[in-house]
């Protein structure tokens, strides 16, 4: 049970505080309610490029990292399709440094042309390192455009193409900032060896003077129901064939979310999962296989992907996966197998909650979903899932018309 206090400033900034007196450290986490899904389809990669620019100096402070390091702190950030999150950890006694730095970059960035120029290059190198100069690096780019026709999940956070990042202009950067990086579009979470009343004082001092922005009304195109199976053949210089399948699933608020999560565990969680045991060990069709889901706020994708053992044909491998999937629809799980995946989930939650950093990020994420207290209800929601729920969920998801398949062939195999 994670206890926390919550208050809101007049400019709309939500502040959550969780105290832990066993640590000498504190974490300051700011989540901005903007992700790659909020980008213009012609200017993708912007939310992520922006994350880089947030370290290029703010209106009153030329350098973000240096004063933080001087205060004994460390920081990082990440961008997903749904959100952008910034966090720093520092000795609790120096927490005001984090308030100073974070509030100044929420007030306004410095918008230095040099920073934009360099970070465009850095992001292009990141793009190359992870998505071009890597076997199968383009697979997700191709799968997203196959599975989504309308919804902005059809591009990755790094951007749909290098060109979009290369062409980013300062005016666009400014517009993006003043549209999304406003206190009323952010959640501030502080965890660690701190007291709520002190955080109230600091929040008032540093964040209250920042003007609110125009409320952002998110109005994203929704993905129409898929009507038939879609597939794509890819041939590339990779050492072995890969099969990747996705099915559309419900979003984070969908009633089937927890059952879907457990379904991925049954199929692909660990060495006693079904796909691992049947397809790697018993039938020896795949050398590796995994099953997971996006965990996105809007309806995401349920994924099964694996590399084929040399000499196994794509059609044999595909049929074998579909047989396992079919079993989930036809045969109800015994309660022991369901208990196992619930136990695994309980354990995962407990280990995740060990650090004040993870607690801060979870509180921010659940607050974004509507209420940070939801975080404490998660385990009960998993424990309420029955074999019938999982079967019903499998039946809804594993419809062949709902499936997208990438056949990724090795040119050399």
């Amino acid at each position: 049970m994670i206890q926390f206090d919550r208050f809101q400033l007049d400019n709309g900034l939500k502040v959550l505080v969780h105290q832990d007196t066993t640590t000498p450290m504190a974490v300051v986490n700011i989540l901005y309610n903007v992700g790659a899904k909020d980008e213009n389809p012609e200017k993708t990669g912007f939310a992520h490029l922006f994350e880089h620019l947030m370290f290029g100096g703010s209106i009153n402070i030329p350098e973000y990292d240096e004063p933080l390091q001087r205060a004994g702190g460390e920081n990082n950030a990440y961008t997903t399709n749904d959100l952008t999150n910034y966090y720093c950890q520092l000795p609790a006694e120096n927490i005001e440094t984090a308030f100073w730095l974070e509030s100044d970059r929420m007030l306004s960035l410095a918008f230095s042309p040099k920073s934009l120029e360099v970070q465009r290059k850095v992001v292009c190198e990141e793009f190359k390192e992870h998505y071009i100069n890597k076997p199968y690096g383009d697979a997700w780019h191709k799968m997203r455009t196959l599975a989504y026709t309308k919804h902005p999940y059809r591009w990755m956070t790094i951007g749909a193409s290098l060109a979009h990042v290369e062409q980013a202009k300062m005016e666009e950067v400014k517009d993006f900032f003043f549209q999304f990086y406003r206190p009323n579009n952010a959640i501030l979470v502080v965890t660690g060896n701190i007291k709520t009343e002190d955080i109230k004082v600091l929040a008032e001092k540093w964040f209250a003077p920042i003007p609110a922005g125009k409320p952002y009304e998110r109005n994203l195109p929704q993905e129409p129901k898929q009507e038939k199976h879609r597939s794509l053949d890819v041939r590339a210089d990779v050492p072995m064939d890969m099969l990747m399948m996705t099915w559309h699933m419900g979003g984070r608020f969908d009633a089937s979310y927890h059952a879907t999560d457990l379904l991925t565990e049954v199929l692909g969680g660990g060495a006693s999962s079904r796909l691992y045991e049947q397809l790697i060990k018993v039938r020896q069709l795949f050398s590796s296989i995994s099953c997971y889901h996006f965990g996105t706020i809007d309806p995401g994708l349920f994924v099964i992907t694996g590399k084929l053992v040399k000499g196994i044909s794509m059609s044999v491998a595909e049929k074998a996966v579909l047989e396992e999937v079919e079993k989930m629809k036809q045969v109800i799980l015994d309660t022991k197998e369901v208990q196992k995946v619930i136990n695994k989930t309980e354990s995962m939650i407990c280990f995740e909650d060990m650090s004040i950093m993870n607690r801060a990020q979870s509180l921010a994420f659940y607050e974004l979903l509507g209420d940070a207290a939801l975080m404490n209800d998660e385990l009960a929601k998993y424990q309420a899932v029955t074999p019938e729920h999982i079967q019903a969920t499998a039946k809804t998801i594993f419809e062949d018309n709902n499936r997208n398949t990438l056949y990724y062939y090795s040119k050399t195999a």
Partner: protein, 427 residues
Amino acid sequence: MSLDRTIAPNIKDAVDFDIQLKPCQKYTLDNGVEVYAFEGGAQEVMLMELVFFAGNSFETKNWVAPATNYLLKNGTSSKSAFEVNDAFEFYGAYLNRSCYNETATISLHSLTKHFQEVIPVVSELVGDAVFPENELEIYKKNQIQQLTLNLKKGDFIANRFIDEYLFGIDHPYGKYSSEAAYNQLTREDLVAFYNKYYKEGKCIVFMAGKFPADIESTLNKYIGSLPLNKHIIETPEHAIVAADEKKYNVVNDPSSVQGSIRIARHFPNRHHPDFAPVQVLNNIFGGFFGSRLMSNIREDKGYTYGIHSYLQNHIQQSAWLISTDAGKDVCRATIDEVYKEMAILKNELVEMDELNLVKNYMLGSLLGDVDGPFQIIGRWKSYILNGLTEEYFYNTIKTVRAIQPQQLQDLANKYLNEEDFYELVVF
């Protein structure tokens, strides 16, 4: 009252923090196995790590040590691989194993309330793993496929080659896997290695988190009753055979858009008096986000997504490495900048302002690193395995606090000489 945002709030210098490594408890089981335990934390979770002297330094045939470690949990005389995995996963426990150069580990992460249910299975793995033939065959086949995939990646190739240049292909720090090595593994190799280095091997236990009641008697029942510590395990001597040639260009994939750069030199181990002060110099050079290499090569020139320098975590002998992936057309320029930064450290004193920042950063992160039960036991483990005591922790802090620019410049002149470095680019 208006707020002047150009003025930084007052800070407590991290050099003034009182950083303590909390003590851990030590006791000995009936069979002589030593246990180091740190109890604490808010969550009802725990970690048990069994460290064996079974790293690749002890193997006489390539890859026997990692294969034995990997396949430990793939079957006992009463359980199939599936049943072993299921026995852990049913209780939400994670059983991992890792093989290093000197040591190899079996680690268990478990909810405290389920520890009693899963420790018997850990005991079974240490005393009764059987290494089924078909499990070995699947392992070989899948590892060879994974290796084929990895060999497509420039960074993977670069990491293998730089270690080979530094230590030699027959040294535990320099050797690596190959298709031939996998193919030559036999069940007999694994069983013999297991019997000597696990079943009757030397083991040390590290525990952290919230423990169930009677933990000591539970450990005695399941670990203390095993035939461990039977023999004196001799640590084999391995001579370092470094390459003569210092500069290498390797073309792995002509269509590659980036090059993987590694620049490295030998460096003594933790017992050498320069080890701790060089950690400070390394941080200034390339050891954290605010370092000179990162500021120059990423933040000023945009040649790379990241560049880092670090001291390798070896027991016998370390190495000092600079590692980055950079755009193909700027690889040469990147390497030149690395040497330029070395020259600046040799020729100019570090400014006090920069030095104080690095000291604060290092001690601030150290304060965070010894926070939490798993982190605390991890640090103790590192000291015990390296033959160090907590003195080392406090001496390192003293060194960081006291070090001055002149000493750093002297160290730079001693260690940052271009001609001592191996240099490799893989496209």
